[in-house]
Structures are given as structure tokens and as C-alpha cells.
């Protein structure tokens, strides 16, 4: 269970997050909203890249005070809008970067690098230089990195960027099994409403840094308030 309480953050004069409070309990939760709504800001705040007021708790454990690099060791993983893998390293070494920083306990109990690579279909590319991978494979490496060594919270920021619709569907299937593979809670940001409804049990809607709505995904996506704010469709009276 991930609980954000009164999260507020501003850049100079702009309020990026306005007192956002939400309790994520489902295995996979979505975060949607128009551009500039504060979705990426939210996960950047959870990552520890941005200072904020308010608290971030996982199972009653406060992580908002940890410096960014320690949060990963604690069990936070994420991917970025643009894949971030090191071209200089092999696929396996890209995973080892995270394993190097993890305490023994989480490595023992968690998914091994080999298992993670199998789950993402990269077991044959273990020793391939990351520079030689195609876009889909690079995304998969990003995801494999999130699966190893007992993650507690995994956050995906628009992981479907640049993927074809069949690749996106495969991605969705993978995200759906993350919880059974690792026991982690997943947060998924995306604009692809099909992916969100395929994968997320509950969804948070943000606009202008504020929480607009939160609840089971099907309800959220048919909520007229959400549709007008996010999908730009006129709010129908009555």
C-alpha cells in the first residue's frame, strides 16, 4: 500500500503539485492526466529528485526523508519517459548496476537477474552490448532492472513510448504479472487509455497538480468530470 499525504511542490511561481493525497492499494495503479498535470512530477517527488512537503509512505513506512539513491536500495524502482540504459554496458551489466547497490538480503529473496531477463524475453541477449538493442528491447531492459532484488514500489513513466500497438499489448501483459513475480506495488503513468484499462485496477487523475478523481479504473474512465478535464469532451448536464 502506497500512501501520499498532502504532497505539495512548486517551481518558482508555478504550483506543480497541490496538496495531493491518495492511497494506492491495488497491485497496479494508474496515474493519468493532461500534459503538465503533475504526473511525472509526482513520481519524481517519490523518487526523491524534487523537494516537497507532505509525506510518502509505504506500508506505514515513511520514505520521504531518504536521499534519492537510498530509496532504490530501500526498494523503489522506476523507468523514465526515455529509456535510460547504459550503452557502454551489456544487458546483464545494466542489471548488475542495481544489484551492486542492493543489500544481500534483497538479492537472496528477490528475482535473480536471469529470471528477470527471462520474464522480459531477453535471456539470449544477456551479453549483448546495450548499444545494439532495438527500442523494444531497450524498454525491456529498463523493466528487467525494475524486477530484480525485491522491489517494493515500481513506477513506470510512459513505458510504451515508441512501441507498436502489439508491443504495447505485450508490455501490458508483462506489467500485469509484475506483482505475482515480485510482490511490488506498481504505479503506471501513461496516455494510452487502453493500456491503463488493460492493466490498472485503480487510477488517479491529476490536473493542474490537483487530484481530480481516484478509484477503480472503469469508473474513473467513464466519470464525466474526468472525461471533460482529461479527454476534452464537454461535460454533459444531467
Amino acid at each position: 500500500m502506497i500512501e501520499l499525504s498532502n504532497l505539495s511542490m512548486h517551481f518558482g511561481g508555478v504550483v506543480a503539485l497541490d496538496n495531493v493525497s491518495v492511497k494506492f492499494t491495488a497491485p497496479v495503479s494508474g496515474i493519468i492526466g493532461p500534459n503538465g498535470a503533475g504526473k511525472t512530477t509526482t513520481i519524481n517527488v517519490i523518487s526523491g529528485f524534487l523537494p516537497c512537503s507532505g509525506s510518502i509512505q509505504y506500508m506505514e513506512e515513511e520514505i520521504g526523508q531518504l536521499p534519492a539513491y537510498k530509496r532504490s536500495r530501500w526498494g523503489l524502482r522506476r523507468s523514465f519517459q526515455k529509456e535510460q540504459i547504459a550503452d557502454d554496458l551489456t544487458v546483464l551489466d545494466n542489471l548488475k548496476v542495481i544489484l551492486d547497490t542492493q543489500p544481500r538480503s534483497t538479492i537472496k529473496t528477490g528475482l535473480s537477474a536471469d529470471h528477470a531477463l527471462e520474464a522480459t524475453g531477453l535471456q539470449d541477449k544477456r551479453f549483448t552490448m546495450a548499444a545494439q538493442l532495438n527500442n523494444y528491447e531497450r524498454r525491456m531492459v529498463d523493466i528487467a532492472r525494475c524486477l530484480i532484488a525485491s522491489p517494493k514500489i515500481i513506477m513506470f513513466d510512459e513505458p510504451g513510448g515508441g512501441l507498436s500497438s502489439s508491443e504495447t499489448h505485450a508490455l501490458g501483459e508483462l506489467i500485469s504479472v509484475v506483482h505475482s513475480l515480485t510482490g511490488a506495488n506498481t504505479l503506471l503513468i501513461d496516455h494510452d487509455v487502453d493500456l491503463i484499462s488493460q492493466v490498472c485496477q485503480e487510477t488517479l487523475v491529476l490536473d493542474f497538480g490537483k487530484r481530480i478523481a481516484f478509484g477503480p479504473t472503469r469508473n474513473i474512465l467513464s466519470d464525466p468530470k474526468v472525461r471533460s478535464a482529461y479527454l476534452g469532451i464537454e461535460e454533459v448536464d444531467g
Binding site: 519524481n44 529528485f49 523537494p51 534519492a68
Partner: protein, 315 residues
């Protein structure tokens, strides 16, 4: 107001040095060093201003500015040696410096448009070597002197003797900061320059002609470099290597302004010059006085640590 706090400590430091080092010396004497320090400090500021204006508009920290200035002043000296009128030699220096700056800006910098600032800066280092090499190659190693007619003229202000050259330099530094500030704030091109600095891609998208704005920035930077070179040649030493590496204290001044605030550069440069000059009066510290600008910049850098490390700084 909080922004100006670090500048305040700079001024206080200069004051402290003055009291500690020159407290016992009669003002008549310490004043001389104060004046010369102000002038050299103005030059550091000018160098820093040229760097910062260009950096803000293009993301390039042009380490070749010193070399460009050196080439300019050597040409000015050579023309003067051949009997050309002084005002024409100055003009030649400024025009040449501007052209050399524009050559890099229009022909070489575009090849680096999408690279990160460190790479762009390293490229200017290469250019500095080329320009310095050409200058040193053309003019054999020799002791030369560059002087302006204004060196002989002087005025007495507050009981201190200021040569007109020094007054020009100090005045120009302050004048340029004001002019550029007004330019960036009030003119359309200035506004375009500021939006370029903010977000280049966005600026292109809203129709700002990037090449035109950048050319102007390179031109302004070149003129300032040329002028600074002339003055370094007059007030410090006429030697290509020395003038080329005067870019280093200029960088120190630029750092005091955090690579963006012209007022910060101005205050930083002046205090560096003053402290460096006043240290001549201290028997213990006088041998390491040239190190003063670097120490000040290092402390400034250290104090800048205040905020959180920028994880997403696009640079």
C-alpha cells in the same frame, strides 16, 4: 534581495582585506593599489561579462575570448608600430576580434549545437589553441609595450590619481553591464536572447530566428573580447600567452555571477582585482597575490552549493 547576499560577502571580504593589509599604510599609498586593483578588476569583470552574455544566449562558454583579444591587441600594436593612427588601430582590433569570434560562432559552433555544454566549451579550447598559435607564430617572442594616449592623462578623484585609461576601463565595465541589462530587458532581440537561453527548442518553435540572435550574441562577445584584449595589453602586459590566459580570472569572475548574473560578475571581478592588488602591500601574502582570483572563485563555488544538486539540469 536574498540573491545579493553572496555578493555582500565578496564586498565585505574586500573591505576586510583592505583593513587588515592596508590599515597601517597611508591612504596615499594604499590608494594607488586600490585604483590599479579597480582597473584590473574591471577587466576581469569585462572578460566575465563577455563570457556570460554569450553563455546565456548560446550555451557556449567561449574560452577563446582571451586568445581573440590577444590577437586583436597584437594587430593594434603592429599597426601602431607602422604608424597608423591610434583610433584606427583600436577599430581594427575590435573589428578583427568580432570577425574571429563570428567565424567560430557561424562556422564551427553549429556543428556542436546539440551537444552538452562541456563539449561545446572543450571545442572553444581547441579554437583558443589555434588562435593563440597563430598569434604566437606571427609575432616572435619579444618584450613589447602597448600604450594608449590616455595613459598619460590623469584625473584626481577622492585624493586618488586615476589615469584616463583606467577610468575608461572601469567606466566601460559598469556602462556595459547597464547597456546589456537594458538590451536584454527592453529590446526585442534581447528578449529573444533570453528565451533562447531558457529553452532553445521552444524558442525555435515559436519562430525566433535562432541563427540571427546567436550571431548577434557572438558579435557582442567578440567586441567585448577585443576591447578587453586591448586593455589587458595596456594595463597588464602585451604578451599573447599572458593575455590568452587572462580568460582564467575572467572565468573566476563569471563564476561569481553564477554564469548568469551580470551584476554578480561585476562585483566579483572588482573585488578580485582589488583584493589581488591590495595583497601587494602584505609582505607575507604578496608573492601569491595572482592566486587571489582563483581562491575567491573557489570559495564562491563552494558557497553556491547551498541548493540541492540539480538532477535534471538540462545541461
Amino acid at each position: 534581495m536574498k540573491r545579493f547576499l553572496p555578493l555582500l560577502w565578496l564586498v565585505l571580504a574586500a573591505l576586510a582585506v583592505f583593513i587588515l593589509v592596508a590599515g597601517k599604510t597611508p591612504f596615499r599609498i594604499s590608494g594607488l593599489f586600490l585604483v590599479s586593483g579597480l582597473a584590473v578588476g574591471a577587466l576581469y569583470s569585462l572578460g566575465g561579462i563577455g563570457l556570460v552574455v554569450l553563455y546565456r544566449a548560446t550555451g557556449v562558454l567561449n574560452l577563446a575570448n582571451g586568445a581573440i583579444g590577444a590577437l586583436g591587441v597584437m594587430v593594434a600594436w603592429q599597426l601602431g608600430h607602422w604608424g597608423v593612427a591610434p583610433s584606427l588601430t583600436w577599430l581594427a582590433a575590435l573589428v578583427l576580434a568580432t570577425m574571429v569570434s563570428l567565424i567560430f560562432g557561424r562556422l564551427i559552433a553549429p556543428g556542436l549545437a546539440h551537444r552538452d555544454p562541456v563539449v561545446k566549451t572543450v571545442a572553444t579550447l581547441g579554437y583558443a589553441l589555434v588562435v593563440l598559435g597563430i598569434t604566437a607564430f606571427i609575432w616572435e617572442d619579444d618584450v613589447r609595450k602597448f600604450s594608449l594616449p590616455t595613459d598619460q592623462m590623469a584625473a584626481i578623484i577622492l585624493d586618488l590619481r586615476f589615469t584616463v585609461t583606467r577610468m575608461i576601463v572601469i567606466g566601460t565595465a559598469i556602462f556595459i553591464v547597464i547597456v546589456i541589462w537594458l538590451y536584454l530587458d527592453r529590446t526585442r532581440v534581447g528578449l529573444q536572447m533570453r528565451s533562447l537561453a531558457n529553452d532553445r527548442q521552444l524558442a525555435a518553435l515559436i519562430g525566433i530566428r535562432i541563427v540571427r540572435v546567436e550571431t548577434i550574441a557572438w558579435g557582442i562577445s567578440g567586441v567585448i573580447a577585443g576591447f578587453t584584449g586591448l586593455m589587458f595589453g595596456d594595463l597588464v602586459r602585451l604578451e599573447p600567452f599572458v593575455i590568452t590566459f587572462m580568460v582564467i580570472p575572467s572565468i573566476a569572475a563569471a563564476i561569481c555571477g553564477k554564469l548568469e548574473s551580470l551584476v554578480g560578475v561585476l562585483v566579483g571581478g572588482f573585488t578580485m582585482g582589488i583584493i589581488e592588488s591590495l595583497l601587494t602591500l602584505s609582505p607575507t601574502l604578496k608573492s601569491i597575490r595572482p592566486v587571489a582570483p582563483f581562491v575567491i572563485a573557489a570559495i564562491a563555488l563552494f558557497l553556491m552549493q547551498g541548493g540541492r544538486p540539480l538532477v535534471f539540469a538540462r545541461d
